[in-house]
């Protein structure tokens, strides 16, 4: 369970999605998705692999175009934005990729400095260094600043990935499978880090996962996705109190009874 009570502004919706459809050829991935993310809230999207969870957050970040539906982020309709406006909006969205997506040819410090140099060329090297130290400290990896991504473990890469998004001070965080492929101890560390980010940086987040421990620890609300639609939304207890749906039952049994 969450170890703190987040400050959620229930009147302020930062992401509002209505009737979202997306297909790749004959594969209909999203079939009418509706979702609201409030300011300061963490929503966990649960579902089996291939149900369109990652596609959903890629559409929110403007990496994919939807076939139909509206995606409103911080008051702006994402699919209708031009290149310049989309770049402006993306500064307010942090996207943490499944494997960190760190730039292989750069050290950890250079990975963190890169978005700053490109988006704020007037910032001095000292200012950049101070920000890098702050975010590296926030993810607990200050000692890795001169290391190459290849020298880091899977968990460290994910943390640096989170640090790289935090450095631009986003209002919204999108996490794509933050605990996939990690051992239980590292998973707990990542879950704690997601909560710490929400608390310290006052972010609103969508967390894509199929790990129920991650969902229970980090989510203020859970949304379960099945065949491209949300079949249930609510807090953890509400969603899992009724196990009449086969997917919900299987998820719970697999994660907590083994």
């Amino acid at each position: 369970m969450k170890t703190f009570t987040p400050e959620i502004d229930w009147d302020d919706v930062v992401i509002s999605i209505r009737g979202l459809f997306k297909s790749f050829g004959s594969n209909h991935v999203l079939r009418g998705v509706d979702l609201d993310l409030h300011k300061g809230e963490n929503i966990v999207v649960l579902g089996r692999s291939g149900t369109g969870k990652s596609v959903l957050i890629k559409i929110i970040a403007g990496l994919l175009k939807p076939d139909a539906g509206t995606v409103n982020v911080l008051g702006q309709e994402v699919p209708a934005l031009g290149t310049a406006e989309l770049r402006e909006l993306r500064l307010k969205i942090g996207f943490c990729f499944q494997n960190g997506a760190l730039y292989d040819s750069m050290t950890v410090g250079e990975n963190l400095a890169f978005p700053l140099k490109r988006n704020d060329p007037k910032m001095t090297a000292d200012q950049r260094r101070r920000l890098i130290d702050i975010v590296l400290d926030a993810v607990g990896l200050s000692q890795t600043i001169n290391q190459m991504p290849a020298e880091l473990s899977g968990g460290q890469r994910k943390r640096i990935g989170i640090a790289r998004t935090l450095i631009l001070r986003p209002e919204i965080m999108l996490y794509d499978e933050p605990t996939a492929g990690l051992d239980p101890i590292t998973c707990t560390e990542i879950n704690d880090l997601i909560n710490e980010v929400q608390k310290r940086f006052k972010t609103s987040s969508i967390i894509i996962t199929h790990d129920l421990t991650c969902a229970r620890t980090t989510g203020d609300k859970i949304a379960v996705m099945k065949e491209g639609k949300f079949i249930r939304k609510g807090d953890f207890e509400t969603v899992f109190s009724d196990n009449s749906d086969e997917l919900i039952r299987e998820f719970y049994d697999y994660n907590f009874t083994q």
Binding site: A68, R90, L91, F95, F97, N99, D104
Partner: protein, 263 residues
């Protein structure tokens, strides 16, 4: 309302449609390059880094190949000219062959293999590991940072490398001529350049610019649009080299025809 569920029917056939769509896609890629190359901010540091990778890092291979090409071509030509007692024509023959044809072509083929595969594989691996998407979501323009700099570096460095290959090739040729005829380097170059016109130099530079641009565009396009995970990385590198080499030969034929009609 759910969007139309019917799969789109191909206009001609799936394969023919795919071919024309990819041609259209390449033209869009090239037109985007010309739009982005003139628009600030300019990625000067990355461009210089790419020039270093394309130019400086190819010097060793280019030196060896250029020198051997000049040396071997001279050795192979000598017996034929000796039959007519025309070995004194060797410097002119070699300079025409090297400057007009061999230097641009050898440089382009080596760069297509070395630089094209490297760019194709690098960008493809960035694509499949979501590093390009990571740039995009960090509000960085990956096309400008990765593609524009690499295409420009190839276009700028190929003519320079070609000049270097020509020089090294001539030195290889001089070595053989000096060992056989004890010709001085001044006399060799005087004879060599006696039959070289401005059009020869211009056509070689022009060809190299075209070859460099082709290598840059093809390898960046293949890398930037890679798919199918790690298999896609190998495929992108391979296709980048094969298509670059194919286009280089086509361009060579077309440019030679045009230059010969002007001459």
């Amino acid at each position: 309302m759910e969007p139309n569920d019917q799969p789109e029917k191909p206009v001609i056939s799936t394969k023919v449609d795919a071919f024309f769509l990819s041609v259209y896609d390449i033209f869009r890629f090239i037109s985007r390059f010309f739009r982005e190359v003139l628009r600030p901010p300019f990625e000067v540091q990355e461009f210089i880094r790419q020039c270093f990778m394309v130019g400086y890092k190819s010097l060793a291979l280019i030196s060896l190949t250029g020198f051997i090409t000049g040396l071997v071509f001279t050795k192979q030509s000598r017996p034929s000219l000796a039959e007519f007692g025309a070995t004194s024509w060797l410097p002119s023959l070699i300079s025409i062959a090297v400057i007009r044809a061999l230097a641009p072509l050898v440089t382009a083929l080596i760069c297509a293999g070395k630089v094209g595969s490297s760019i194709g594989a690098e960008l493809a691996s960035m694509k499949v590991t979501e590093q390009i998407d990571a740039m995009e979501v960090s509000a960085i323009n990956p096309f400008k940072y990765l593609v524009v700099t690499r295409i420009l570096a190839c276009t700028v460095c190929l003519p320079l490398l070609m000049s270097y290959t020509a020089l090294v090739g001539m030195m290889g040729s001089y070595l053989d001529i000096h060992l056989n005829e004890q010709t001085s380097i001044t006399a060799f170059f005087a004879k060599a350049f006696a039959n070289i016109s401005f059009l020869d130099l211009f056509s070689s530079f022009f060809k190299s610019v075209c070859f460099g641009f082709t290598i840059g565009v093809v390898s960046c396009y293949q890398g930037f649009n890679a798919s199918q995970g790690t298999t896609g990385v190998g495929k992108a590198a391979n296709v980048a080299v094969v298509i670059s080499m194919f286009l280089i030969f086509i361009e060579e034929i077309v440019i030679v025809q045009i230059i010969n009609s002007i001459r």
